[in-house]
């Protein structure tokens, strides 16, 4: 499972990895997957008071493609309007990063964790 181009770069040097915060207003955290089934993704989104994403960070126990996807998505989200974040799907991420077909199920967990983080943000918002 060789990663190409941007995906490879993100896997080699992940952006916004780790550094999660605790619960708070303007902080949304979401988790998908679990250790037992092999892949777990945690996504966290912190908004500013203008409805933009000030910071997106993540944690991932997973194969290279999923790590790359989480890193890349966090970069896309940083600075973007919160409402835009809902648009990213696993398929779109996989296509943009030219990820191998077999990694889609793992990338879905990135999408799920991100969506869960947004929902959490709404609750805390």
């Amino acid at each position: 499972m060789e990663l190409q181009g941007t995906a490879r770069e993100h896997y080699r040097a992940p952006r916004n990895a780790s550094g999660l915060r605790g619960v708070g207003a303007s902080v949304g955290t979401g988790t998908a997957g679990d250790v037992q089934s092999g892949i777990e993704v945690v996504f966290q989104i912190i908004s500013d008071d203008q409805g933009r994403i000030r910071q997106a960070c993540w944690e991932c126990l997973g194969p290279p493609a999923v790590i790359a996807a989480a890193s890349w998505l966090s970069e896309q989200l940083t600075g973007a309007p919160v409402d835009d974040a809902r648009g990213w799907t696993a398929l779109a991420i996989s296509e943009t990063l030219e990820l191998p077909a077999e990694s889609v199920s793992g990338v879905l967990l990135v999408e799920d964790a991100c969506k869960a983080a947004l929902a959490d943000l709404e609750r805390h918002g």
Partner: protein, 417 residues
């Protein structure tokens, strides 16, 4: 793909390079001036080859403490295992002696697959589940045999985890039972002493390429007294008493013989050094924390299998690109899913997936082990830096709890950076 010589090769359990002394013995058989004859021919060329084969059988016999006349040359340990299991069980069943075979879940595929074939042929197979360290006790083996049992097969050293079975103890437990006792010794040869006579072993499989000999040759040692008989797998010109017909390959046999000769004092000369290297690798990697040794803490001197918690197996493998170690289900293709050996030990699949087998050999140096340990440490640390599992492990959740259940959701606690 190139195999960069500056990277350490730590996969000696998969195969070994041929020792140059073995190579010399082999090339002596190939050319016009060499011992190239057909060992079955009755002219001088044939007789020279026959003598060479007899010498090689002597070298095999000496390595395992058994009668050289019992040596049957095969294409490797896979064929030796098949011949032992299918040959012995079918022969016994044809004679109405019984239809039950006992073995262990952690055996090599070369044992498990012929057992599956016996099942398809209507025989009964009991596969014992080992203890957590991979051992089966002689009592457990003894308790599994019935009056219908015709064969017991237990490997000496496990190829994935290096667990050493108590072959002498199992042999003793079976001493008063007519079942034949087969041992796959492909991994133990040259690393641990083997004594077929003293241990009550009836059939023993060996492979040359695990002991610095060539690929494509092995041997099944078959007890002569009391005589152990086999239904052959191949039918042909009657060579090797019909047990395994086909023209013998003097160059391969000479190579295997020489390899056995060189392996004979391996348990005293090479094993202690390997054991020291294995321990230092084990201790360095254990210091990473969240790491478990699969199998015995001090198993075979040349094999170390460890699971690295809180990292994903594919990512670990990607990080170790180019390092000569086996990942996941070691010996066979890693695409086959979780290792049946680690499963039998009760290792959770996700943890088994991030396991590595390091196997050391004749030319492994301290520097090799250090470089491998450096690479693995870097890889594990890098991946753990953003692993939610590692965060939970660090805040007190055990590996056991992490991998068996996933109780609490990954709600990060308040903490700095």
């Amino acid at each position: 793909m190139t195999t960069p010589a500056e990277l350490p090769y730590l996969d000696y359990a998969a195969t070994t390079p041929v020792d140059h002394r073995v190579m010399a013995a082999m090339t002596d058989c190939l050319g016009r001036e060499g011992v190239f004859g057909n060992p079955s021919s009755r002219h001088p060329w044939g007789r020279a080859a026959e003598a060479l084969v007899a010498d090689a059988a002597g070298q095999v016999g000496a390595l395992i403490g058994g009668d050289p006349a019992g040596v049957v040359w095969t294409s490797g340990a896979t064929e030796a295992d098949n011949l032992a299991i299918l040959g012995c069980a079918r022969f016994a069943r044809e004679r109405g002696r019984g239809d039950h075979v006992v073995s262990v879940r952690t055996e090599h595929a070369a044992v498990l697959e012929p057992l599956e074939q016996l099942r398809r042929e209507g025989m009964h197979v009991t596969l014992l589940t080992p203890e957590a360290d991979g051992r089966v006790t002689p009592e457990a083996v003894r308790a599994a045999v019935t009056e219908d049992t015709v064969l017991v097969s237990v490997m000496h050293v496990n190829n994935e985890i290096g667990t050493v079975q108590d072959i002498a103890g199992i042999g003793a437990a079976l001493a008063d039972h007519p079942a034949r006792f087969h041992v796959d010794a492909a991994q133990s040869a040259g690393r641990l002493p083997i004594r077929v006579d003293a241990w009550g072993v009836d059939l023993l499989s060996l492979s040359a390429h695990k002991i610095y000999g060539p690929k494509g040759v092995g041997a099944l040692w078959v007890r002569r007294r009391p005589r152990v008989r086999l239904a052959p797998l191949l039918h042909g010109g009657g060579q090797q008493g019909g047990r395994r017909p086909g023209t013998l390959a003097p160059h391969l046999i000479a190579g295997m013989g020489r390899a056995c000769e060189l392996a004979q004092d391996g348990p005293e000369t090479e094993a202690p050094g390997l054991r020291t290297l294995r321990r230092s690798l084990r201790d360095r990697l254990l210091a990473l924390d969240g790491v478990v040794v699969n199998g015995q803490d001090d198993g075979s001197p040349h094999i170390l299998n460890m699971s690295f918690g809180c990292v994903h197996g594919d990512a670990l493998q990607a990080e170790l690109e180019g390092l000569g170690v086996s990942a996941g289900s070691a010996c066979s293709s890693s695409a086959r899913g979780p290792s049946h050996v680690l499963r039998a030990l009760g290792v959770p699949d996700a943890l088994a997936h991030s396991s590595l087998r390091f196997s050391l050999g004749r030319w492994t140096t301290e520097a090799d082990v250090d470089r491998a340990a450096d690479r693995v440490e870097d890889a594990v640390r890098r991946l753990r830096a953003f692993s939610p599992a590692w965060r939970r492990y660090r805040s007190g959740t055990s590996l056991e709890a992490l991998y068996r259940r996933n109780p609490e959701p990954a709600q990060p606690s308040n903490r700095e950076g």
